[in-house]
Symmetry: C2
Subunit: 332 residues, 2 copies
Amino acid sequence: MPSISIRDVAMRAGVSVGTVSNVLNRPNLVAEATRERVRAAIGELGFVRNESARQLRQGRSRTFGVVLESLANPYFTDLARGAEAAMNTDGFDAVWCTSDGSAAKERRCLDFLEEQRVSGVIITPVGLDAERIAELHDRGLSVVVLDRRTYSSVCSTRVDHVAGGEIAIDHLLGRRHRRLAIVTGPLLQEPIKDRYAGATAAARRAGLTEQDLVTLVRNDMTPTAGKEAAQRLLEVDALPTGVFCANDLLAIGLVNELLRAGVKVPGEISVIGYDDIELAGTSVVPLTTVRQPRHELGWTAAALAVAEAGASGDHEHRQVVLSPSLVVREST
Amino acid sequence: MPSISIRDVAMRAGVSVGTVSNVLNRPNLVAEATRERVRAAIGELGFVRNESARQLRQGRSRTFGVVLESLANPYFTDLARGAEAAMNTDGFDAVWCTSDGSAAKERRCLDFLEEQRVSGVIITPVGLDAERIAELHDRGLSVVVLDRRTYSSVCSTRVDHVAGGEIAIDHLLGRRHRRLAIVTGPLLQEPIKDRYAGATAAARRAGLTEQDLVTLVRNDMTPTAGKEAAQRLLEVDALPTGVFCANDLLAIGLVNELLRAGVKVPGEISVIGYDDIELAGTSVVPLTTVRQPRHELGWTAAALAVAEAGASGDHEHRQVVLSPSLVVREST
DNA sequence: AGCCTAGCTTGAAACGATTCACGATCTTTG
DNA sequence: CAAAGATCGTGAATCGTTTCAAGCTAGGCT
């Protein structure tokens, strides 16, 4: 019951604590016979290293914190997997926190992670100003910002959502659609704003006028919100023939509701989503969408974080931009 | 850069380290003036408590580990939220790990958590025998098993999936369906097996024969697997008129594929799912399903874990069983 | 024999917080 | 006015690791 410590192991194996520690951390320094004796003792006693003590001594832990907005969107799951995979290959662990889009909760997550003395943080900032980021940095944490343009003084990795928005609209335009609608989420979120910016830019470039381009802004980006958007759309006089939804969940809710209302997709309305989550491919009408390299995004973020944490002194911050791509299915 | 410690704060405020610690942990023991002086010093220096040191001294951390099979299913998100909420109200934190259904990864998660000296573990065991559970227990961890019947020597909380399976089939039978199909996932997973057991029991009880009840076992429980199941079903001579899918993702994939094939739902085939994830309500054909009280499940698990961790000596293990309920929508 | 070297092992000093028995002051009371 | 509480603060011991200078041994070299 009283936790087994390295000291107990040392006693059992008839060596000093220093030697046990060496077996654990630099086994090559220890003679074969001793090493085996210590390992045996560890096994017999069921010793488990106390990370708290290790961290205390080393000043920093072997884990990184990842602060995401939510885990509700399958999008994040892949990202998380990518990040975790990259961490693990370098012998680090990842710990997940969610801010639920609230600045207060985000702050709590960061406090928690700071108290844990994590090596670094990967974060999609919600209420985080550059100042607080710099502060984290000064405390010796490596910081990687996910999917945000506006933090230039740290490493970051993101998808080029402006390009993504353009791809979507260009695709619709390429299919001869001239009356378009954009269903988007909260424009305060940078990636969402960018998709919207890219989309409108592409539309304008093609000479579309204000009334050829309806915009619906929703607070959520859930299937339910998509459903409501469809209902709203159906109230409009002239139905658009092409719709770009800022994510797949919105698109799925929207398509489903349109179908329920008897509108043919893609017959009467073409719909394109964003993300390429698994469900996109298995909807009633498999969804054309803009794919984000989510796994790669997570992987890159983790790699950057690890690199910075390992760098001694001269570290150069990098901003890695990944490109989205078009996945054509049946909804357009 | 050299992390600010309690000692620096003490120096700055002109008090001893003991006093600073008291301000942090039992502020009522400290005179108002001193308390404020210390708080000011903390603020000015940007002191952040080092959890490693605290844990080392206290022998145990204020966090619990939660080991889930995956985060890919939205089902887990709610569960996680419920658990986190309960933890937070009691001043604890939760740390998430995923086993991805692999015993090896599960072991790694547990090692990680043990090294962190978490107060306890909430887990849906994958490759975990009662022995290892007991071992964790002996080491002073509180253990709560999620959604498994077979561990009687620890606290656990689960949904009565046998009842859930019965509810589903009884509902179909109630709608006069006599030729049924069950699409299920890996029967090695206890909850899945239970749903199946409940379903077949209900069918047998109603006098259905072998050939009135087709069973399709899939390895995954994803929309893609549901889609494949639909294709398989369409190859069968006599199409069943009612289908029970062991989760909503399967059901959604299946319904979508049926619709694509021109089969009317619920006109020709009725489908009932399991879980009641958000998507169930927003499908083309809103899905009838068996709802699990996920949030409550998470909450209960956390509450049990906290209770056990707080209990001194005489703790009685409890098994809490929650009931699923029927949500009727349009797919039946 | 005497000296080096290489290879192992040792043991004590951190790391930063918490705890607790014990002082130091200040009030109250008989 | 002395004794007895009350109220606050103190500082050393402690938790379990890692680290590192120093010690020991055995063997090789001159």
